[in-house]
């Protein structure tokens, strides 16, 4: 009988609930970035589980590939796409959420009940023998003998995916890029002359030069189009008035 030693059991009972809670939290948090971080945590937990189960190589790969590369890719795309109304947690398709929750309860219940019923019919073996010459060496042996053909196919898949991503990301211009002169003309012919000279920078006249502080217009009101739309959508725009000085020293000192 493969017995799990106490340290592993402690580790498991500590990490497993944490992983499940993090996963649930991933669904509940509003911001995609938070979801990504929670997912990264779940993946690190899984890496620890892998290592604990004598899958050293996979554990390392999990950290390097998933938390390292894939999650970074997610964050990068999040940065590109920004935030919009899709981050709202309000359900727009009527009746979908109860269905999803009921289905999830049924699905999870059935899975758990099935696992609980399953019996192997023999003792669990453990990987001591299989890993006798080292986990990486044993995996390499399998990978380059029994699984060499799938390995080659998967490498072809990787190259294809890279090419596919390039093709998808490539943007074919349908009209030539507007020259600076054309852009200027368009700006002056546009509906409002107010923006003809360019949008105001954030923080102008606001006594604060942070990107989330709107500029002040000559009449003292805030100019919302001076800050990034992303910040506005996130609700990260600050009030310029809070940086007003309560007392303004109007005395002019002569410069020497």
């Amino acid at each position: 009988m493969l017995t799990i030693q106490t340290p592993e059991a402690v580790m498991f009972w500590f990490l497993a609930p944490l992983a499940v809670i993090s996963a649930i939290g991933m669904l509940l948090v509003k911001k995609a970035v938070h979801s990504a971080l929670l997912l990264a945590w779940v993946m690190i937990t899984l890496a620890i589980f892998y290592i604990a189960q004598d899958a050293l190589f996979l554990g390392i790969v999990q950290i390097v590939v998933y938390t390292g590369a894939v999650m970074m890719l997610f964050l990068f795309i999040l940065m590109l796409v920004g935030v919009d109304a899709s981050d709202s947690l309000t359900e727009t398709i009527r009746g979908l959420r109860p269905i999803a929750i009921t289905a999830a309860l049924g699905f999870g219940g059935l899975l758990v009940s099935l696992i609980g019923r399953a019996t192997l019919g023999r003792e669990a073996a453990g990987l001591v023998d299989a890993n006798s010459e080292g986990n990486v060496q044993a995996l390499a042996k399998l990978l380059f003998s029994t699984y060499v053909w799938p390995f080659e196919v998967v490498s072809a898949l990787l190259i294809t995916a890279a090419l596919g991503a390039m093709v998808l990301a490539h943007h074919q211009r349908s009209v030539p890029r507007a020259t600076q002169r054309e852009q200027a003309i368009a700006r002056f012919r546009g509906a409002s002359l107010g923006s003809a000279a360019g949008l105001p920078n954030p923080g102008v006249f606001a006594r604060h030069n942070a990107v989330d502080v709107p500029a002040l217009l000559p009449d003292g009101s805030a100019a919302p189009n001076s800050i990034s739309a992303t910040l506005k959508a996130r609700g990260d725009m600050l009030e310029s008035t809070q940086f007003e000085l309560s007392e303004v020293d109007n005395t002019v000192t002569e410069e020497k």
């Binding site: 493969l2 799990i4 592993e8 498991f12 992983a19 499940v20 996963a23 991933m26 669904l27 990504a36 779940v42 993946m43 899984l46 589980f49 892998y50 189960q53 899958a55 190589f57 790969v61 999990q62 998933y66 590369a69 894939v70 890719l73 795309i77 590109l80 796409v81 109304a85 899709s86 981050d87 709202s88 359900e91 727009t92 959420r97 269905i99 999803a100 929750i101 289905a103 999830a104 699905f107 999870g108 758990v112 399953a118 073996a125 453990g126 990987l127 299989a130 044993a138 995996l139 399998l142 699984y147 390995f151 998967v154 898949l157 990787l158 995916a161 890279a162 998808l168 990301a169 943007h171």
Partner: protein, 99 residues
Amino acid sequence: MNPYNYLYVSALLFTIGAVGVVVRRNAIVVFMCVELMLNAANLTLVTFSRINGTLDGQVVAFFTMVVAACEVVVGLAIIVTIYRSRRSASVDDASLLKR
């Protein structure tokens, strides 16, 4: 403790991922939920590898990771392309099929 406990965790994570795909609207979060489901499957494979005493489960998990990486690359490229033309990362906005 029994190694089957890892399977329970895997089942729960998979279920949570499945719910996430259904309830979340942000395409990137949906994608992350898919990744969560793939990881849950990987945990199952590793656990079974341990129970059976052979490394084949780990090899398959390795392949799964590679395929998942490919999927992430292509999927994110698609999201970017859609966002570029529709200015939205909501999966509900890409619903032209019903018309």
